[in-house]
Symmetry: C2
């Protein structure tokens, strides 16, 4: 690209470092910022600076938080005895938006993946072990990806936590609501047959 | 979306103001910035601030520039007598990357579009009129979009500039190199027949 300006070139270079953004899209964004009021860009840069410098990880559950302890961990109305183990913040957000879970979370910050060079030591596990030792926990729900990596992580955590009297569960695998049987893969079908549940009228 | 942190929510909000970026992509970008070294974000915000506060429009041709007069206008080896009129910076970049044009540019900053509420007064035309008056210009090439809006803009400029002895040209419209006749629209085919050129061996 023949940039008419070094300033523009550098901005495009920096924007295109973002995931999924190529040079062309970055250029479009830079020119867009030049068209809108400057305060918009100032707000954006302030928000980004604030984000990377001031956000914290909750010291109890490792979720992203504005404070030392996140709002979920600090909420006395949530059941401390049930801990849902997830991979990252997006999973917490997804489960929270269902409004069906009233326990607490533990955010691993990834999953064991030898292919991507992520081992158990790269994950945040220690606070979970501390919680298991210090608090009375009845159930740990594994809400991890239904992939080899998710399964490996689940197996690892189960091994190191299993000498306790906690009940371990994993979220159900089966055909998605709205999916057709015809297009469901074999393994999912096998699981959904194995884990069949009593029929309840009116429930999908 | 149930954000665990106000700081994250604001960052996502600001990022999603960029063109073509939804909330989900914005969240992915924000979480990406939290994973990479903080200096990356600092570089990005610095580049964006620099962009909107320090970039200039060349006072001769209205192209984006780091200096009062852009590098193209300041280049004494380029032919001042040929001016190529384009809509925006991207068009200058596209033509420059062909390395086939040695004249100067004039950047309108848009095109007349009643549908989008853009009239002639919103475009940068005065510096072009000044140049036509003060300098000896032989040819003005209209390199505008081959759309109704581009044609309207071209017609308007032709009307206000036509009392001069300048030669007005427009870039050729025809089928693109590599295109198949079968998939070319009628109007383009008509234009490419009307404007047929003598056959030259070895030239596509």
């Amino acid at each position: 690209m023949n940039f008419p300006s070094k300033i523009l070139e550098r901005a495009v270079e920096e924007i295109s470092q973002l995931p999924g953004i190529g040079k062309r899209t970055a250029l479009r964004m830079a020119l867009h910022l030049l068209e809108v009021p400057k305060t918009r860009t100032d707000n954006l840069t302030k928000a980004l600076t604030h984000l990377v410098h001031d956000i914290k990880h909750c010291k109890k559950c490792n979720n992203l938080s504005d404070t030392e302890v996140c709002t979920i961990c600090a909420n006395p109305y949530r059941n401390e005895k049930i801990v849902c183990v997830v991979e990252d913040v997006r999973d917490v957000m997804a489960i929270e938006s269902t409004r069906q879970f009233n326990g607490k979370y533990h955010v691993l910050g990834g999953r064991i993946s030898p292919m991507e060079g992520v081992s158990a030591s790269d994950l945040c596990i220690t606070p979970l072990l501390t919680r298991v030792k210090e608090q009375e926990i009845e159930e740990i729900i594994f809400a991890l990806s239904a992939t080899i990596e998710g399964d490996t992580t689940m197996f690892y955590l189960y091994k190191i936590l299993n000498n306790t009297e906690i009940k371990f569960t994993t979220i159900a695998r089966g055909i998605g609501v709205g999916d057709e049987l015809e297009y469901t893969d074999e393994l999912t079908l096998i699981r959904s047959l194995q884990n069949r549940v009593p029929y309840q009228q009116g429930l999908r």
